[in-house]
Symmetry: C2
Subunit: 637 residues, 2 copies
């Protein structure tokens, strides 16, 4: 049996389908993206697709109205083909995953930010020592008088060219299996890909045709989003990027819920599969197809992610991260081979994972600090990573303190009804006319692009302007009516930023009180964490000389507005610098440079972790910060 | 559906059976041994079993006579259960595999031979440096003030106790996954198993309760038989042994046929599965159950085998071994982890494989030479390994030459109608009364044990005596009749050694002309190889000062008879020494000592391989040697 998926605004995909597979199962297996936040249990109703032809078995789910069911609408998770079928996949079926799509460097402005980071890394010498190299092997064919085995013949040639002892050249099983065939197919001329080992020896990890790209992969595993950068290790240049939602989200939006899930039966296995098989596999497939390479040609991987993500990636129990005294199973993951972890690349590709320093300050931060580059400077700097978890680092070349707070996904557009990542169609800047109450906004993308949603920086602007114009109060509640303020059936109040006829989606873009509330909690978590951390280490806000803002919030962030709503401390605007996805930049550095790996390790070793949750004043600070701008408005005067 | 197997002289085994599985499939999966030399194609008729209750689907095969079919006899490969069934498995259904069972050191006399080898190895210092060690880890429990991660906490303790730098202590994924659970289950007191790396660093490969055995496994993969020895690495003492038939035999009795099979679609995969999943898996299961351990507790493996076996184990194409110029893909296999190869033990157990020196002189010989211990001596020695492939090594501490010939499995009892390994019930010595023509024999095992078959040494005696008494001629044909000489329906002539009423099996033990022919070819291959090799290196037979005889032929070998029939050169009897399964002894040495691994590598590096097949005189020598004793009887005068 086959399913033909007709994807709205996309290609058709034809998939074989097994007897007991649902439409959702077949879609997952073939990389057709259909949201299923409930995990395919039939309890969320998000995976609506339409039957075009053929027959699906399964009863009408409660989420499909009678007439919609008659028109062919079904839930992908609840129906199984009973023969060849054709299925229409509307845009709405992957709205969530599309919206969080871009945290990589595929947008022009994010790319510019990354290019600056990359230039800085290069200047510091973090380049060109990626631990993978190629050697051309041109051999005399064997004869009865010279019956040396292929492996020894190739090793001798490599030894001769590199000056390495022959007995320090090993072959991976993958390379050994390819060797006799490649040699005879190519007249005993081929190229060996070598992995440099810590003891100076080399492992031949592939045997291939000469003159090809030398691909490596940087991966940032965020709680909400996974991003990848494919890099030619020979040049250090990025070749392709891709990102997508972290499928673990069905087990909970934040790390705490996922840790709880991991303690259930098969929990670790399911969470590991969600990240590896449902996110990393299809993203690697996509990025390789963009670059025109096979995934087995990826020879090195660097991974950054928070402590929980690192544990789940390796299927190590994260259980004790959330139980006092909050102890991870590991800070430093040793360098594994991709095959050990089950990544679908060259099985002996070395996998470096950025070290954590605490249960809630992970490798995304230690690698991000390398990319932010303030760890070398005398100035006291504050590093703020705005993700699902917010993390802070404060210090200079003498010391570094760090802590974490749970901010939620609002900065990345999550938990906001019209939220989206900082990509094409996102409202990233906004001002509101105090007289008319009408917004004026700018949208990411080419001229003429219609607004599709609101990204983090747009949210800051809109909430700041609504507050400045007196449309909302300090608690984030709408004060008065008007043609833009609407109520939905359940009594929720919202403000229409864009009317349906002007939007990309054909629906109003609305900011609800609930959205504002979510955002205020996020910014309150960040600000209160800054205050608490500085208090613990006995520094005042005035001592901060530079502020590095990282995360998917977008380069359009307006610092004045962010200060106005009490998200960032009141400091001169020029002290702030947006550095983009510093976790992915850090992964890039670790991918292309073993010296960078070592430096991240040193940074981690010198960083002190502060556990805010065990600090008595943190909760009071948080409550006080959940106002616009703050209960102590003097802090922002 | 279930099958209950009632095994004659054995236990009952109950197995779940899938819809499309034959009785043979279910038996294979569950370790119930049923011979299927044809691979389950229904073309050999050996897998006869009897239906006791229930129903089997499938037509009457030609191998089952009408009335036997009515009695319930079926072919395990040709019938599928259509519900719960009960199946009787007669002894005859696993006669071949039972007969070749023992090549390990479980027999008292083979064990004595091995104990001598082991004592000699110990004297040479090949002991106690197995590359695996344990460290007791007793940690202070973490607290809010001391939230060091588990891995770093354990590494610090190991570093403190061993003096190794903390950053030179790595954790395997398997160990890392066990660490947080083991620590909390056992109050932060546990034992770490460490693998020593070449660069002096350590990898923690397991976390476990203290005070247990430290198991390692020596494996000899023969073309016909696979043998294993489980060793406590802490003491170097053997704990259990097991052996069984090499399931690849269904793809051919010799390496050439298996190499040809490997070039067919999925051939390498099938041959690899036959050795790993059908032989090594169940043998490991059996040996672990004998020793009362879990297979994941095996921490090191040493493997010996001929070049083809090594290629197939690693799934490396052996294709070019049999094509001029006969070049292996590798001589030296690097040290892999068990997980890389798919062995069901601790995934980071180091696997050392003895190096080959040519297409037909493999790691069984290089490791065997270590065990034979003549490589250090001034005396010119000849080493003869009597296996399916016969291999020879000639030399002393100054030089070593080696070559191979295809002897077939006759020395191990294969291709001989009543052949068996040198184990309980085997006729191992025989003399014949020239007057009466009646044999007098001794049998391996306790007093009163009945004869079950003939092992290699018994064959030499019987053929020697038949020839001495004039019952057979120089071509191995029976000269006259008598009550012991019989003809079967197809005209084949045989000599009854043991009448049915005196045998263990209840059937006559008969030596046929075809058996004698097979044996003469085997001994002819060995003798002609000795002659040709010595001629090539310009030495005469008289220069041989010692002869080491290795292989499963058994300690009962009678040198006078072996010389009389022209198998061994005419040299004084006291120059010969039987050294047993030297390949397994060599694997044992490599398992328990890294110095032994290094020494085998040196031996291999100094050994010169002679390709007899490319030598013009070899075929003439072989033809001349296929007589009793030889066409040139002066050689044995």
């Amino acid at each position: 049996m086959m399913i033909k998926f007709n994807i709205e605004d996309g290609d058709s995909v034809v998939v074989d389908v097994g007897k007991d597979e649902t439409v959702l199962d077949a879609a997952k297996r073939s990389g057709v993206v259909i949201d299923a936040p409930c995990g395919g249990n039939g309890t969320c109703g998000k995976c609506r697709v339409k039957l075009v032809s053929g027959k699906l078995d399964g009863e009408k789910p409660k989420y499909i109205e009678e007439n919609a069911f008659n028109e062919g609408w079904r839930l992908a998770c609840a129906h199984k083909p009973s023969g060849d079928v054709e299925i229409f996949v509307p845009k709405s079926a992957n709205a969530f995953q599309s919206r969080i799509r871009v945290t990589d460097f595929s947008g022009a402005r994010e790319k510019a930010v990354f290019d600056d980071v990359r230039a800085a890394l290069k200047e510091l010498g973090f380049t060109g020592d990626c631990g993978v190299e190629t050697v051309n092997v041109e051999l005399t064919a064997p004869s009865l008088d010279d019956a040396l085995a292929d492996r020894e013949r190739a090793a001798r040639s490599i030894a001769g060219q590199t000056g390495i002892d022959e007995d320090k050249i090993k072959f991976s099983l993958y390379a050994l299996r390819r060797l006799p065939l490649m040699l005879r197919e190519h007249n005993f001329r081929t190229e060996c890909v070598l992995r440099l080992e810590k003891d100076g020896s080399r492992t031949v990890i592939d045997v291939r045709n000469a003159g090809k790209m030398l691909p490596g992969l940087a991966i940032d595993i965020g709680t909400t989003t996974v991003s990848m950068l494919l890099v030619d290790l020979a040049t250090g240049l990025p070749v392709a990027s891709a990102s997508g939602g972290n499928a673990q989200i069905r087990y909970g939006a934040d790390v705490i819920n996922r840790i709880i899930e991991s303690t259930k039966k098969d929990g670790i296995k399911k969470l590991r599969e969600a990240i590896i098989e449902e996110c990393i596999y299809p993203l690697i497939k996509r990025i390789c197809s963009m670059a025109g390479i096979e995934s087995e040609e990826i020879y090195r991987i660097a991974i950054t992610g928070n402590t929980t993500m690192a544990h789940l990636l390796l299927a190590v129990a994260p259980e004790y991260l959330r139980l006092e005294p909050y102890v991870p199973a590991f800070f430093n993951a040793d360098e594994f081979s991709a095959g050990d972890i089950g990544l679908p690349v060259n099985p002996c590709a070395g996998v470096v994972i950025a070290p954590a320093i605490g249960s809630y300050v992970g490798g995304d931060i230690t690698a991000g600090v390398l990319a932010a580059d303030f760890y070398r400077k005398e100035n006291f700097s504050l590093f703020i990573d705005l993700g699902t978890n917010g993390e802070l680092v404060f210090g200079n070349s003498e010391f570094l303190f760090s802590c974490a707070c749970s901010a939620g996904p609002a900065f990345e557009g999550g938990e906001i009804s019209c939220g989206m990542r900082a990509t094409t169609g996102a409202i990233e800047k906004c001002s509101i006319n105090k007289e008319t109450g009408d917004p004026d906004f700018s949208i990411i993308g080419e001229t003429g692009v219609k607004p599709a949603g609101i990204c983090g920086s747009g949210l800051i602007d809109i909430i700041g302007e609504l507050f400045r114009c007196g449309i909302i109060n300090a608690k984030g509640k709408y004060l008065e009516g008007g043609r833009r303020v609407i109520k939905d059936e359940s009594g929720g109040v919202g403000f229409i930023i864009v009317f349906a006829d002007e939007s990309e989606t054909g629906q109003d873009i609305v900011l609800t009180e609930s959205d504002i509330d979510n955002f205020i909690r996020a910014k309150g978590a960040i600000f209160s964490a800054i205050r608490t951390m500085l208090a613990i280490v006995d520094f005042s806000i005035d001592t901060i000389e530079e502020v590095y803002v990282a995360g998917g919030i977008g380069s359009g962030i307006d610092i004045d507005h962010a200060i106005m709503i009490g998200m960032f401390p009141k400091l001169p605007k020029e002290k702030f610098r947006y550095i983009g996805n510093s976790s992915l930049s850090g992964a890039y550095a670790m991918l292309t440079s073993c010296a960078a790996v070592k430096k991240v390790s040193e940074i981690a070793g010198g960083m002190t972790y502060l556990e805010l949750s065990s600090h008595p004043s943190y909760m009071d600070e948080f409550v006080a910060a959940c106002f616009l701008p703050h209960t102590d408005s003097g802090l922002f005067a």
